[in-house]
Amino acid sequence: MKIAVCIKRTPDSESRFRIAASSASIDETGLKFDIDDFASYAVEVALQLNEKQGPGETVAYAVGPDAVQETLRKAMSMGVDRAVQLKTDAVPYDGLAVAKALAAELKSGGYDLILFGKHAFDTSAGIVGTATAELLGVSCVTAATKLDIANGRGTARRELEGVAEIVEFPLPAVVTIDEGIARPRYPSLKGIMSAKKKPLETRPAQLGNVRVTVKSMALPPDRPPGRIIGEGTAAVPELVRLLQTEAKVL
């Protein structure tokens, strides 16, 4: 199968974030960036599908500045065959613009399957995969926790808001990947060495009109400091009183 995986470079989610002096972005000083977690699950799913189904090709795409080349190399060190950078100075906050850049590139690619993470950690917006599917006019399944492909059709499981569903769909398709589906492999030394020789093309991102822009970023207001009201079962009556009279939730 010919599979595309669209990945994003995001900062380590456990970082302590600061706002840059411009107040229009985060301060990237000292932050560690890598392939986004959900995107790494998508890469793993793509590799496993092609390993199981015999000859195929897996191609990674990323929109962004030259720093994404490192992320694309990481995907290739895991086993992706080649990579394409859709170059722009900064990834805009306009998810539809990013989807347009990807769709313009993917539409002539002849892909059976196009995978995304269900969202990326930084914006948690979950727009690009679904919008790309719509622009390409192909099947779209979001937040898959299981994915099987056989005879040109896919079956996926999704777990959403207390209900699980099993869906079937024809290829080509866009599928966005939730966690729990596969543990992403660590690149082997051999993988890292061979990734350096794998083709990485760079083309301008056809973003079109960017209509969503960042005005400012700020840290959220702190919650009032925590308060310990007592110890053990003896504190229960006081808790109930506070829930009734102060919080008014009981």
């Binding site: 979950g126 599917a133 099947s139 209900v163 970023m217 009201i229 808790l239 919080a247």
Partner: protein, 329 residues
């Protein structure tokens, strides 16, 4: 004056809480432009029109009813096509959907079909002149981003729990609309629905959440959390990632950075230490209660009311006290 089109989400022909929140948000946006109308679109099997009155109570002026025998279960392709067709036919400034499972699927489709911008997971929104300004939490709620949208029409999806349902009775009209796509022609077909449990409240809908962590010590002790939830009557039970990774609770119950992000009115954390990934999923809850035996646990830094103690001892006593308080009403 600008009209707002809102998708009113249903399950089994019943409005979901996020639908009322979306209508509330739409009402405020329409009012802020000097008195536009709110048009709510509902899609379901015949009989769905019955929800119109309830939507009027929260500020809808017109309910667009899409009834079809093939829409008993949510069909994202049909709903997206129909919502986009409606948005195109009227003079709307904004399309509002929920940032729920359904809304996550239809929002980007509608935006792509109409070629209009979309911002998801919105917690505040306002219209000023030509621009729509919204707040959107990012980086696992650690940063609040203010975005400006410059377009005559945009799609906003609102975070569940961020817009408190308000009553704003409007005389409501209804209008029938045929689905803009044939339900039987959808590419993606649901083969099987596996319900999480009869009558179980979803974490995104429940006003009260009791969440358990490793401090409960064993899977069977989640019974104590379930008992407390039952005493409240309007509560759902969630869990930390440590617990779902252990297989004590299903993966879908996980609250945190990579699981569900919730903002109930009351969040009771039992036996949860409060790892930063967990806090990312619940720190916007209105009131937080924590019960934990370690007084230095980070959960106490965000808890409005903390009790230091053994959850296995405190929970049954709290459950009994809540039952009595409820009975006294």
């Amino acid at each position: 004056m600008a009209n707002v089109l809102v998708f009113a989400e249903t399950r089994a022909n019943t409005l979901r809480k996020v639908a009322l929140e979306s209508v509330t948000a739409a009402r405020a946006l329409a009012d802020s432009t000097g008195g536009g109308e709110v048009h709510a679109l509902v899609a379901g099997s015949p009989g769905i029109a019955a929800v119109a009155e309830q939507l009027g109570q929260h500020g809808a002026d017109l309910v667009v009813v899409v009834e079809h025998a093939g829409l008993a279960n949510f069909d994202r392709e049909v709903v997206a096509a129909t919502l986009a067709a409606r948005a195109k036919s009227g003079s709307y400034r904004i399309v509002v959907v929920g940032f729920s499972a359904q809304g996550r699927d239809i929002g980007p489709r509608v935006a792509a079909k109409l070629d209009v911008p979309i911002v998801t997971d919105v917690v505040e929104a306002s219209v000023t002149g030509g621009a729509i300004t919204v707040k959107h939490p990012a980086y696992a709620n650690k940063v609040i981003v203010t975005l400006e949208i410059n377009a005559p029409l945009a799609v906003l999806s609102v975070r569940p729990g961020a817009f408190m349902v308000a009553t704003a009775p409007h005389a409501v009209r209804t209008e029938m609309m045929a689905p803009a796509a044939e339900p039987s022609a959808s590419k993606v077909v649901v083969k099987e629905l596996i319900e999480g449990g009869k009558g179980k409240l979803d974490l995104g809908e429940a006003p009260v959440i009791v969440a358990g962590g490793r401090g409960l010590k064993a899977p069977e002790n989640f019974k104590l959390a379930e008992d407390l939830a039952a005493a409240f009557g309007n509560a759902a039970v969630g869990a930390t990632r440590a617990v779902t990774d252990e297989g004590w609770r299903p993966h879908s119950d996980q609250i945190g950075q990579t699981g569900r992000q919730v903002s109930p009115q009351l969040y009771i954390a039992v036996g949860i230490s409060g790892a930063i990934q967990h806090l990312a999923g619940m720190r916007s809850s209105r009131t937080i209660v924590a019960i934990n035996k370690d007084k230095d646990a980070p959960i106490f830094k965000v808890a409005d009311y903390g009790i230091v103690g053994d959850v296995l001892e405190v929970l049954p006593v709290l459950t009994q006290a809540v039952r009595e308080a409820k009975a006294a009403h």
